[in-house]
């Protein structure tokens, strides 16, 4: 079978996360069977995506305006910064509606085996934000993995140093680790269970 427009589009779509060759094929036929206007609109949005979306100069999040709507929102709590690994983590936290402070995107986690050291992350800019003296709490919302823990420990040590040198009073916290809501003890791994024991709360 010769390589035609269907094969090329199928190959491109199967590069998306969670999309195999079969589901990519199903998507192509769905688009082909459907309204050509949908394909045109989707094409236009894709073509304009990288130009429309910037990185916020303050927090590093994805935005159409710089600074981003969150950093520009003076009604948000300017004394708390939530540190996340990736820009997309901001949306997940925003959707929980639990946090009303500011964000800071690290752009990765320390992973020596992959050659990612503190220098690859946006830590210098974070320290700059802390040194303004407005921030009282730094919440580390990093994944509870080895890389997340390493990065959290590194940031804790760094903060201890600048707290002394710059005479700042910043509390550093981490998201609680434990059983997921609706989860089952039987299906919880040993490490999560041991963490949820150590972080147990009074009833």
């Amino acid at each position: 079978m010769n390589i035609n427009a269907l094969d090329r589009l199928t190959a491109l779509l199967s590069k998306l996360p969670g999309v195999g060759k079969k589901s990519a094929g199903r998507m192509v036929y769905h688009i082909l069977d459907g309204d050509p206007g949908y394909a045109q609109t989707l094409a236009a949005e894709l073509a304009g995506l990288h130009q429309a979306i910037l990185r916020c100069g303050i927090c590093g999040g994805f935005t159409e305006t710089d600074p981003c709507p969150i950093c520009s929102d003076t009604s948000r709590d300017q004394s708390v910064i939530c540190v996340v690994e990736r820009a997309q983590d901001i949306r997940i936290i925003e959707e929980s509606r639990e946090f009303r402070g500011l964000f800071h995107v690290l752009g990765g986690l320390i992973a020596p085996l992959e050659g990612i050291g503190p220098g690859s992350l946006s830590i210098g800019r974070l320290l700059g934000r802390l040194k303004t003296g407005k921030v009282r709490e730094l919440i580390l919302a990093l994944n509870p993995t080895i890389e997340g823990d390493t990065t959290a420990l590194y940031l804790q040590k760094l903060l201890k140093d600048i707290k002394t040198s710059d005479n700042l009073n910043i509390e550093i916290t981490r998201l609680a680790s434990g059983l997921p809501v609706g989860g089952d003890l039987e299906y919880t791994d040993r490490l999560t269970l041991s963490r949820s024991f150590r972080s147990r709360v009074r009833f």
Copy 2:
């Protein structure tokens, strides 16, 4: 959160089959984090898709040239036509490399409850192809569903009529129904099991 380019693209992608809001979001961030060239190529393929892909004037399959490569291939067996519901079924059968004849796309199945009668299907064109006298066998590769069975019965009756009126000698066959290869008796539904009994073959 205001509607920006990310939200618009997420909403568009979540209209694809098998893509929910969460996986659409993951795709958008994957595209945004990746090479802008990928987004541009994908956009260009999508924008050109409906113009690049035609329907073959003979079989009704998707193609970039009319007639399609299969209908134009004189090395294929011109005496057998495999009747399928949708154009994308051709690819599935081609990939099995079991069949070397021609195809005919009906464009649907008879479904009175949904208002789809024989008139909505490309049956007239099929009869035209049969009346050339070259065709010796018509293989019905329709889904083993009520609609597939209804359509198969309708075609069988129609063929019986033209066999008499046009003095044609065409055999009509259907794909075998039975246990899927690698399947398990225990997980086979009653109807499939009863069909596989009735169509049992000598060992």
